[in-house]
Amino acid sequence: VNILKKKNTISKKDIKKLAWLSRIELLAKDEDIILKQLNQILEYFKKIDEIDVKNVEPCYHVIDLINVMRKDKQQPSLDKIIEIIPQKKARYVKSPRII
């Protein structure tokens, strides 16, 4: 779904959407500053419009990645990860309401 209307600057409405997509609540006073900064950065990113990349393959990784498989055998587990859960009940993560 094309959530943002196609254009090359971010509006105040967009920033709210992007912040929500990023799951970062923004303070009202920060919205204007971040909006200005992001638009400055985007303006700079326009630099890449100058170059033609027709028929060029993207380089997602600089080395040729090969699937790494291991034997289906139990490895030592990190039991201690349970200890660092901020809010829990017994061995379970306590999450907020989902609906």
Partner: protein, 464 residues
């Protein structure tokens, strides 16, 4: 001295800890000092020395570790409120390697939050100060590691280099910073920011120490799916003092607009020096480099927005206490309070560059430009053994000077990001000083040719 029992490890570590306690409140290099475990380990090592057992390559050496590398039982904060109290239940592979070689993890060092920055000012725990001049930044994002070595609070240090985060502070603190070939050092236990670009990297006082630490941390690791299985060399063998016949390319684009004249002049003096020492140089051009910086930032931010999605405050990290909100709201509030401004900017912009309708225009295009830049480097390395330029286009700047203007801060990385985009190894070594401010010389080679970097760097270091 330690091996000959002239100095006890315990005495040495006590000395280092006292040094940290005296100096760190001025420099702010360390977030956590690993005092008691280090002293305990020192005593064990003294016993090991007495027993005549085989000793590791880093016997009794205090190593400072950037606080985005996981250390079992020692807080690993990423200089973020989000991970302020995070104690990893496991060691990163590089930490296991250092321990295996009898090194001592002396403490965890300051950084820009989640390694996003070029000055170590974007830290939840305050800026790190440059030990060479307290008014200046130490460089970043591994500024704490560099400052720790510069101020003799550690002998060796580990940082991570995503777009110059080890070479920049090495340059600003007059140290040696090596960004290894992508895949040569395991990233297992390195807290991800932009995982297709970053490598754990040594920061040291000289080239010898850089080769020593790289020897210890490089190698194949099945726990990192991007680890490359290559036969490891002993890099100390390449600490030669001879560069006769070495072909060096001087990259025109590294001396472009934005590069201070005195930086260019000092780098050229170094080139003439290398020529005197037997190298052959020629100017060369990699025209697509002008697109490297915007491409780098698009890719880094996109990867950051994805990598940092894991910080929901549920399984570990910062979680607000209020129970009245639903899932998404809690998540958004945890992240509002847990992350600093620069991290928020990068996540939000990364969400934009990856979003439907913009993906092709930004992220995909940046990845295609990456291919073009990589091809230009391949071509250059068919002709030259190494490429040379400045590490930083400018001298170390004042604390507070750029912190309000993110774009100006990003510009500092213009000469360091090409090595990360292409995965090639790159080293920054002290070149010279101007008005008591250091200038770093950057040397790049083709993938897995760290041996060439050590050879050229060592020759220069011994003939400066």
């Amino acid at each position: 001295m330690i091996k000959n029992e002239e100095l006890k490890v315990e005495e040495y570590i006590e000395f280092i800890i006292n040094r940290i306690k005296t100096v760190n409140n001025k420099i702010n290099a360390f977030i956590t000092i690993n005092e008691k475990p280090s002293l305990k380990k020192a005593k064990e090592l003294d016993k090991k020395i007495k027993s005549g057992k085989k000793l590791g390559k880093l016997i009794g050496i205090p190593v400072a570790v950037k606080d985005n590398i996981c250390t079992q039982g020692i807080k690993t904060t990423c200089a973020s409120r989000m991970l302020e109290n995070f104690i990893p239940p496991y060691d990163a592979t590089v930490i296991s390697s250092i321990k295996k070689e009898d090194g001592i993890i002396i403490g965890k060092t300051n950084l820009d939050e989640f390694a996003m920055g070029s000055s170590t000012e974007y830290s939840y725990f305050g800026a790190t100060v440059n030990p060479l001049n307290y008014k200046l930044v130490a460089g970043g994002s591994s500024g704490g590691s560099a400052a720790a070595v510069r101020a003799s609070m550690a002998t060796l240090a580990l940082g991570s280099d995503t777009g110059g985060s080890v070479r920049c502070p090495a340059s600003f603190c007059s140290l040696v910073g090596l960004k290894p070939t992508y895949g040569s050092v395991s990233r297992y236990g390195l807290i991800s920011y932009a995982n297709s670009l970053e490598q754990i990297s040594p920061i040291t006082k000289d080239v010898h120490d850089s080769a020593l630490l790289f020897n210890c941390i490089s190698g194949y690791d099945p726990l990192d799916s991007t680890s490359v299985n290559k036969n490891n060399k002993d890099y100390k063998k390449y600490l030669l003092k001879d560069i006769n016949g070495i072909k060096i390319g001087i990259v025109k684009e590294f001396f472009g607009e934005g590069t201070q004249d005195l930086v260019s002049k000092n780098i050229w003096d170094a080139v003439f020096k290398l020529e005197d020492l037997g190298a052959k140089y020629e100017e060369t051009s990699l025209p697509n480099l002008e697109y490297a910086l915007p491409s780098y930032y698009i890719i880094a931010m996109s990867e950051a927005s994805s990598n940092l999605a894991r910080y929901d405050g549920l399984r570990y990290g910062f979680r607000i206490q209020d129970r009245s909100y639903n899932w998404h709201t809690i998540f958004s509030k945890d992240r509002k309070l847990g992350f600093g401004q620069e991290v928020k900017r990068r996540i939000i912009l990364g969400s934009f560059t990856l979003s439907s309708g913009y993906y092709d225009e930004y992220y995909l295009k940046a990845q295609k430009i990456r291919t073009l830049i990589k091809k230009e480097f391949d071509k250059a390395f068919a002709k030259f053994d190494a490429l040379i330029g400045p590490t930083m286009p400018i001298l170390p700047f004042k604390i507070g000077e750029k912190v309000q203007n993110p774009l100006v801060m990003y510009m500092c990385d213009v000469d360091t990001v090409p090595a990360n985009l292409t995965g090639i190894p790159s080293i920054s070594i002290p070149c010279s000083f101007y008005n008591n401010l250091p200038i770093g010389l950057q040397i790049m080679a083709s993938p897995f040719r760290e041996d060439l970097l050590f050879r050229i760097a060592n020759t220069y270091e011994h003939n400066k």
